[in-house]
Symmetry: D3
């Protein structure tokens, strides 16, 4: 639910902002998508980079977004924990409250995915 | 409503803090008002400075406060968007969640003002 | 209640994180406790250091935690206010929203303690 | 001289980076120029926004760059000081070392301009 | 020598800034001195607060200044190290380069003081 | 040469700090090494995480250190540039001065390596 609210507010406001007609903001938003595309580094690695950067800058919404993307890219729990540990050591104990919320978010995403799968299985 | 809560908590706690009797905190609060007064630069420009500084430092409450003040100073939507775009380019994608909330706040302030005006018109 | 939620989420997620089995995170959490223990500087002073660091880094949860610990260490209201004033001057006006919440938290902690004492007295 | 070094290193490395062939970085650099162009707000105001943002984020090179641009835009000493004062109150005493260097840079830019003018006068 | 340069640049620019005639900046500078004066907390503790705040905000000049003041207040090496350790755990590994410079500065200050004492002894 | 100074100051001060006898600082330094070791994520990826985290937190020494480590891990120029581009988009234009120095450092490291290889080739 929290995740649903996050997604719906995010989508609604992104649309609102892009429609507002400021070209520089639009270009920045486009650039912000492009930078995570496959290149010399795969999207998966770039999403981990985005996640750790969000963690040390302590931006909860950015962390949530990159967790969602990393799950889509098949990042495992151990890989998440090691990314979190790098963010924690680099950023220090002030990262901890964000780490708590990050792990709670990851748990919620995994639970939702498990529920979807159960429903999916049931639908067969 | 969110804005009302923001204002009432802000006023209540400012009063509480100023009554607590710490002279240095009181002086800082006084200074924090004075610095936005008309001088070589007009208050309007200084409020835009306060807004962009709040944006790159990612302080939602500060952003809300300066949006309210900028609206009082007659800042237009395009001027807001250009100030936001400077803050976004300087501060990067981690500013985006705060930008979403800033635009939502601005929309709320504009809607409230429109409502007041409608009521005002009705009162004639 | 807010404080209760803070404490229960904090404890639940800390447990969850420590059980997740990442050794580096576990070690960091252990270190994060040890660093506030009595040494050349008493725990009391170290908790004030933790509080001011949390204030200038603008981490509400960290501020709440260190306020709780400082109250346990017998820090007086004037000592709190002076610590806040140092954090405010060092960190600037963007600290103010966190200062408001810090004072509200301190008031809540003091009120809860007063309530407990009244109950305690009543129990005799 | 310091300013000369700053400018030559800046130009050399910007060229080096743009030639390196990463399209996203190139696009960001282009966007970083465009955002200060005249619009609803004039370039002059946007450069003041860039200056105060650089001050509170404590980026000496960014401060130097925007001082140079603001001087080109005819910003007066009093306007500089008021912009600095907003940055100082918002960002706190940790801004002071950057303020010292900012004022030293401004003095250097003004002195160089005065020297150029004297030479220019002599050339008539 | 580095310390001498630091002190002379600091004093020269502070004077330059205070003479520039911006009242808000002057008031902030006055406030920045007053906040470390003896109160409910002694100056010594407040200087430790200023030091840890400077460390987690990674401001080398602020760290140098508070080390100089803490030495004047008789802070021992172990007390310095414990203050540094709190700053390091709170702020994370990005504090380390500043910690290296802080310890080098402290060594330089202690060496200068020892030299002064030796000279002083010789003068008797 | 700059790199040599960086390395010699870094090694000398790390040794000095570890010998100073503060156990918490020692433990943190140990943890700071361990966190980049091979695990679910390889060291190579973790060093990229450390690099992007250092970039968005704008810590030049940390950037230099992780560039050196990434070169040892065989990171290609294109991979460096893409990591830089993520850091730039996430952290904004205030990252640019650090990006300039990062690219200059990388060039210096590559040139030194090429020189070593030439010498190595000559030694055969």
């Amino acid at each position: 639910m929290d995740l649903k609210e996050f997604r719906s507010f995010r989508e609604r406001m992104n649309e609102r902002i892009l429609e507002a007609g400021n070209l520089d903001i639009k270009r920045f938003f486009a650039l912000d998508s492009r930078v995570y595309e496959d290149g010399a580094l795969p999207t998966r690695t770039k999403e981990l980079l985005g996640l750790v950067a969000s963690l040390v800058l302590r931006c909860d919404d950015c962390i949530t977004y990159h967790i969602l993307r990393c799950v889509e890219e098949g990042v495992s729990d151990d890989e998440f924990l090691e990314t979190f540990s790098v963010g924690l050591i680099v950023g220090g104990s002030i990262v901890i409250p964000h780490l708590r919320r990050a792990v709670a978010t990851l748990d919620e995403v995994r639970a939702a995915a498990a529920g979807d799968q159960a429903i999916g299985a049931g639908q067969v």
